[in-house]
């Protein structure tokens, strides 16, 4: 066993032992414990748990890479996945906390006095959460597979086992306290390599300041800012300028950011975290704390992305561009390069048979003539996976083995904490909304708790199965999960609070319209349920790729939300206003006084 493997097993083992210890200590004794952690969670603690719940394998492993290769265009993820918390804190969380029930579909069902509304909400919740949880499972499998020398399937089984222990025994209570521990692990794992890399490139230990600092590798002043240096290096190789590169178009970035924001605010596994605090005022502050803890990672990520991109290019382009000696000889590549080639995340092809690596943008027609002149025959780095930016970061920066091991534990913590939150949202929708809400209204509390645990087991088995055999739509976390949360759930929740006279017919029609329009646009591009060959773009009818004002399917949720609002308002006018007691319920939700702990009835 290598030193790195020993470190990795020790640190991952230690974190797992902590999670199991917490599970034993925090067993659920009632449905209130199981669904809302007993309702007595401190708002700062809940903020921390929410941050871990929210920051997924994608936030931890993939986001810095998406920023690294999209430059300014990657801002949609930074603004979208944080700005949603403003909407959640101002428009939803305090009111839903005041309502004081266990699940999101329960609010929709009660507010719109309709089982149909509740069932539509359950369907959206399950579709969004299941798609989302597959990404966490594959993240766990990949992290285990690459670092712990076990197979992908074994990795997923181990992940399932660990989640099962604390989620089945403790429900929301166990999940809350493990999420707090997982936040601590993941934030150290993310920031420590970032501090080192920032020190190394800019002399400033704070990545947030280093990104705006002077480029001074190993303390040697360059007279240029880091971002100016990066802009120069990437444009010299024919790539787009880092600080101005847009994603699609400005309009697409606008709509994409809005979709991610609305989707974030409407995701049930995040909303239910706010049901665990004692009071309405706690829910307001707790959302602020959640965003503080999230912002620590989200303001670090752009520095990691930019600096790792610079490091990656500097590793390959070791001298003047165009001179033969400027490019790294393949046989001289560093060890980390070899290790990541073995995983397939990096791949090199010697297109001009010179034994050296040419990494440049071969899609840029203006650059092609120069490349031709130098004898370059195409970009030879045929694969540079986004995930490499975070995963290989400590090795590229030459950090010790324990830091690499910590990154593995951090990635696992991010994936496990989000998976657990999603699994709870799924199982409570089944046991509380479907079983107790629709099929067995008179079920005793004890039996409902048992049903909750059985639903959790079923959800874990399903997530594990789909992680091992990922269906096509697993690739659609952003398009499907955020798309549905934005287009279907968010408008229904918001109108439920802010439009007192919105009626059942309007809300149900709006939810279904938003859902259908969004799924149609996504499936039209990506195939029905992402099955290859079933996409139905029709360029002849003016429906080519991104036909709706150049908006990509990932960014479509906000359009779906707009459709939802419009349809709801149109249908609302033709149906009777909600009964008196529902209007009173809305009045009551708007005022903090009289809030109790969340209850199931």
């Amino acid at each position: 066993m290598t030193a790195l493997e020993i470190w990795t097993y020790s640190i991952v083992g230690l974190t797992f032992a902590t999670y199991i210890g917490i599970a034993v200590w925090s067993r659920a004794k009632s449905t209130s414990d199981f669904y809302v952690a007993g309702g007595g969670v401190n708002p700062v603690a809940n903020g921390m748990a929410t941050a871990a719940d929210w920051m997924s394998a994608a936030s931890f492993i993939s986001m810095a890479g998406m920023i690294a290769f999209n430059g300014y265009g990657g801002s949609v993820f930074l603004m979208g996945w944080t700005g949603g918390y403003v909407l959640l804190a101002l428009l939803l969380a305090p009111y839903l906390r005041k309502f004081g029930k266990f699940t999101v579909p329960e609010f929709i069902g009660d507010r719109y006095y309709s089982q149909t509304a509740r069932v539509v909400a359950v369907v959206c919740l399950i579709l969004a959460s299941v798609t989302y949880v597959i990404g966490q499972m594959t993240g766990i499998g990949v992290a285990f597979g690459r670092f712990l020398g076990v197979s992908y399937e074994m990795g997923i089984l181990a992940g399932m086992g660990i989640v099962a222990i604390y989620a089945i025994m403790g429900g929301m209570k166990g999940i809350t306290y493990t999420q707090i521990a997982q936040y601590v692990v993941l934030i150290f794992a993310y920031t420590i390599p970032a501090i080192f890399i920032s020190l190394n490139l800019t002399g400033n230990p704070l990545p947030q300041l280093g990104l705006g600092g002077e480029y001074m590798r190993d303390g040697v002043s360059s007279g240029m800012t880091l971002l100016a240096k990066l802009d120069q290096v990437v444009t010299d190789l024919g790539f787009k300028e880092y600080t101005t590169q847009v994603m699609g178009s400005s309009l697409n970035m606008f709509v994409y950011t809005l979709s991610l924001m609305i989707g974030t605010a409407g995701l049930p596994h995040v909303i239910i975290r706010f049901f665990t605090v004692p009071k309405v005022r706690d829910a307001r502050f707790s959302a602020g704390w959640a965003l503080v803890f999230i912002a620590i990672l989200y303001t670090t990520a752009p520095a990691v992305g930019a600096m790792a991109r610079l490091n990656l290019i500097d590793t390959i382009q070791i001298g003047p561009i165009g001179s033969e000696q400027g490019n790294l000889v393949y046989d001289d590549r560093p060890d980390w390069f070899k290790r990541w080639e073995a995983t397939g995340l990096l791949k090199w092809e010697d297109k001009n048979d010179d034994g050296r690596i040419q990494y440049y943008n071969d899609q840029n027609p203006e650059f092609a003539a120069k490349a031709e002149e130098w004898g370059w025959r195409g970009n030879e780095m045929v694969t540079v996976n986004n995930d490499i930016i975070v995963l290989a970061n400590p090795e590229i920066a030459g950090l010790p083995d324990w830091v690499i091991a910590l990154v593995v534990a951090g990635g696992l913590a991010a994936a496990l904490s989000t998976a657990a939150g999603l699994l709870l949202a799924i199982s409570s929708a089944i046991s509380h909304d479907l079983l107790k809400g629709v099929f067995m209204p008179h079920i005793s509390e004890k039996r409902e708790l048992l049903a909750g645990r059985l639903a959790m087991i079923a959800a874990i088995l399903l997530a594990g199965y789909l992680g091992i055999n990922p269906p096509g739509f697993a690739a659609g976390t952003v398009a499907i999960a955020f798309g549905l949360a934005a287009s279907s759930l968010f408008p229904a929740l918001m109108m439920g609070i802010f439009a007192k006279r919105m009626n059942s017919a309007g809300a149900v029609a709006g939810m279904i319209a938003g859902l259908v329009v969004t799924l149609l646009y996504v499936f039209q591009h990506k195939g029905i349920l992402f099955i290859q060959g079933t996409s139905f773009l029709a360029p002849d009818l003016g429906m080519g790729a991104n036909w709706f004002f150049g908006i990509t399917p990932e960014a479509f949720g906000a359009i779906g939300a707009g459709v939802n609002f419009l349809v709801a308002i149109a249908v609302f006018k033709f149906a009777a206003p909600p009964p008196e007691h529902i209007q009173h319920l809305v009045e009551d939700v708007r005022i903090p006084r009289g809030s109790g702990a969340a209850t199931g009835h």
């Binding site: 300014y72 801002s75 400005s250 606008f254 950011t257 959302a287």
Partner: protein, 85 residues
């Protein structure tokens, strides 16, 4: 509590929301996307200003907005006597 007082509390809340959401929109969609090019002519340290808003500044403002909201709502709750005991 009288219906008038209830309505006053709600409109004070809506006014607060409107102000905060305008700021939310301006720093992200405004400074970070629509006005990013003109703002990039200015610099904040080594950051082009528009780029800074898109990748750093908007996030800091979001955090501040939520705490301002929470504190202001607490005051409103006391003023209209609708808070929790």
């Amino acid at each position: 509590m009288t219906p008038e007082k209830r309505a006053d509390y709600w409109s004070a809340n809506l006014l607060l929301l409107m102000v905060l959401l305008i700021i939310w929109f301006v720093v992200s969609f405004g400074f970070g996307i629509l006005l990013v090019e003109p703002l990039n002519a200015f610099h904040l340290g080594g950051y082009p200003l528009g780029f800074w808003f898109a990748q750093q500044g908007s996030i800091y403002v979001f955090v501040a907005l939520i705490f301002i909201y929470a504190a202001a709502m607490n005051k409103l709750d006391i003023k209209f006597d609708v808070g929790e005991e």
